[in-house]
């Protein structure tokens, strides 16, 4: 399980989980789960498109995920859930079209949708680190405005926070992160990691800083357990990520119920 070909999986998995836990904290805080679900599907379409034209999948994923994020962010004035739904559908349809035109093999498609953590080569690690650092810095810079905007929007505006610009910045950061997460846990499952552990963390503590930290810890634990379980059972890692993420939330929800009533 800790043999040399697994080393990359553990390292990249940990980085991705930390990033997903951090991004997810803001996703849950701002109630933007739907966008967090839609944007990784842009990465899916991008990877499929990159395969079709024969460029590196990472660039396809980054550009399509960012395009999806900009599309969702730009139309915040309208019914944002409708726009998000349409962005999601368009990206998936494009992905399906690219795949059928390039006649990709099914295992490749499954890997994109549900992840293939064992397939991470050492050459693909450098971009993962680079993009992770960029995302972490962006989140650090936006931390205060994002928390203000979610908890006291009026106060944030009076302090000169531009909500549209902030939303854009956050969505683009989310898109960059998604482009990393998709090859590891898949387009459909990167979302599970972004919502389950952070939502669970918010149940335990309301203080932003500790919720953020706990969210990252839970996210890493979820992914580590999933990799280990997937290695032992040969079942897809996405299954464990999806089910464990939800389980963490449900267990903590039941566990904290008595406390919430008492308070």
């Amino acid at each position: 399980m800790f043999s040399s070909f697994m080393t990359n999986a553990w390292i990249v998995g940990t980085v991705v989980a930390l990033l997903a836990g951090a991004t997810g904290f803001f996703v849950v805080l701002r109630g933007s789960s739907f966008a967090a679900h839609a944007v990784p599907n842009g990465a899916f379409a991008g990877a499929a498109g990159a395969t079709l034209v024969g460029i590196a999948p990472l660039w396809g994923m980054v550009s399509f995920a960012v395009a999806a994020a900009l599309g969702i962010g730009a139309s915040r004035r309208h019914r944002s859930d409708v726009v998000t739904a349409m962005a999601l559908v368009v990206m998936l349809a494009l992905g399906a079209a690219f795949l059928s035109l390039s006649a990709a093999y099914e295992p490749q498609v499954d890997a994109l949708l549900f992840g293939e953590i064992l397939g991470i080569s050492s050459t693909s690690m450098a971009p993962v680190f680079a993009v992770s650092i960029v995302c972490a810095l962006a989140l650090a810079v936006m931390y205060r405005p994002l928390v203000y905007d979610a908890t006291a929007a009026d106060l944030a505006r009076s302090r000169g926070v531009n909500p549209t610009l902030l939303e854009m910045g956050f969505l683009v950061t989310m898109a960059l992160g998604a482009a990393l997460t998709v090859p590891v846990v898949g387009a459909l499952l990167s979302f599970s990691l972004t919502v389950g552990p952070p939502a669970a963390a918010r149940l335990v503590t309301r203080r932003p800083a500790s919720a953020l930290g706990l969210s990252m810890v839970l996210s890493v634990l979820t992914l580590w357990t999933s990799i280990a379980a997937s290695y032992q059972t040969n079942l897809p890692v996405g299954f464990f990520v999806g089910v464990l993420s939800a389980l963490v939330y449900v267990v903590l929800r039941v566990g904290t119920r008595g406390r919430a009533r008492g308070a």
């Binding site: 849950v28 739904a85 349409m86 998936l92 349809a93 399906a96 999806g242 089910v243 464990l244 929800r253």
Partner: protein
């Protein structure tokens, strides 16, 4: 019309069945979707489609009827959403996310098990993206029956639903059982999404549920007109989508047709764009007039 309808289009039985079933699903989705859009429940509608996939894939593993799997999955998903608590708006987003995340995990497992147990390929893409042309006759019959049932339920629920969607407090004051109406509507939505998931694929069923109603609502007419317009736009999207997909087989020397789901989504997006441009133009004319 040969430039539009390639030879043999309408004499193909699979195409005729596909268009017929597709139009039924499109009409039902559009009618239910008007309420979904008004209640800002696009995310729940989409999540139910993914939960339905898990059900469909699960049915594939145990060898049960896919339609039963899709509908059962969607109903279970609606139940899980209600259990976690969709009634509080702040929690709704997270609850939907958690249910959706768990369901995709299960899909991953079921689809993996299917590929282990069968030699046939393409099951993942078939379940996720669907294909109108591979709908079985039994499914056609079941879709028709369920479609009529959903239509009747919607006719019965319509007024209180719209009232509750537009103004929950006023509806409650007038004696509408808002909570019960919401639960019944969740059931209707679940069955609808299960239906459309099996026809154009669970992932893209969202297109028919949200796209045409959103376009129809932008036109801003009387409510009854909105419902009719949404149904018409949905049917048009499916029909044109099938035609384009069929024609695209002849566009490239490689003879790789564009997937139906892509073509349907393309038409839906064009409809939305056209309606938006039309509204702007009308708005400008009114402002000048």
């Amino acid at each position: 019309m040969h430039w539009l309808f390639e030879p043999g289009l309408w004499s193909n039985a699979a195409v005729r069945t596909g268009v017929g079933v597709g139009v039924v699903v499109a009409v039902v989705s559009a009618l239910v979707g008007v309420v979904t859009v008004l209640r800002s429940q696009s995310f729940a509608g989409h999540a139910l489609a993914d939960v339905a996939t898990a059900g469909g894939a699960g049915a594939g593993v145990v060898g049960a009827s896919p339609l039963a799997g899709f509908v059962a999955g969607a109903l279970l998903g609606a139940g899980a959403l209600e259990a976690i608590g969709v009634e509080r708006v702040r929690q709704r987003d997270v609850a939907t996310g958690v249910v959706l995340g768990a369901a995709t995990g299960l899909s991953a497992l079921f689809l993996y098990l299917i590929t282990l147990n069968s030699s046939s390929t393409g099951s993942t893409q078939l379940i996720l993206f669907g294909s109108l042309f591979s709908v079985s006759n039994a499914t056609v019959a079941a879709v028709m029956v369920l479609g009529v049932l959903v239509g009747l339920a919607l006719a019965y629920l319509g007024r209180p639903l719209l009232f509750a969607a537009v103004s929950p407090d006023a509806a409650r004051a007038r004696g509408v059982a808002v909570a019960r109406v919401s639960v019944l509507y969740a059931l209707v939505l679940a069955v609808t999404v299960g239906l459309s998931a099996i026809v154009i694929g669970s992932v893209l069923s969202t297109a028919l549920l949200i796209g045409p109603p959103a376009a129809a609502l932008r036109v801003r007419r009387r409510m009854s007109t909105t419902f009719v317009l949404a149904a018409a736009l949905g049917s048009l999207a499916v029909t044109l989508g099938v035609v384009i997909s069929y024609d695209s087989f002849y566009w490239w020397p490689s003879h790789r047709a564009l997937p139906v789901s892509f073509c349907v989504v393309l038409v839906v997006v064009l409809e939305l764009v056209a309606v938006t441009i039309g509204r702007r133009a009308r708005g400008d004319a009114r402002a000048r007039g």
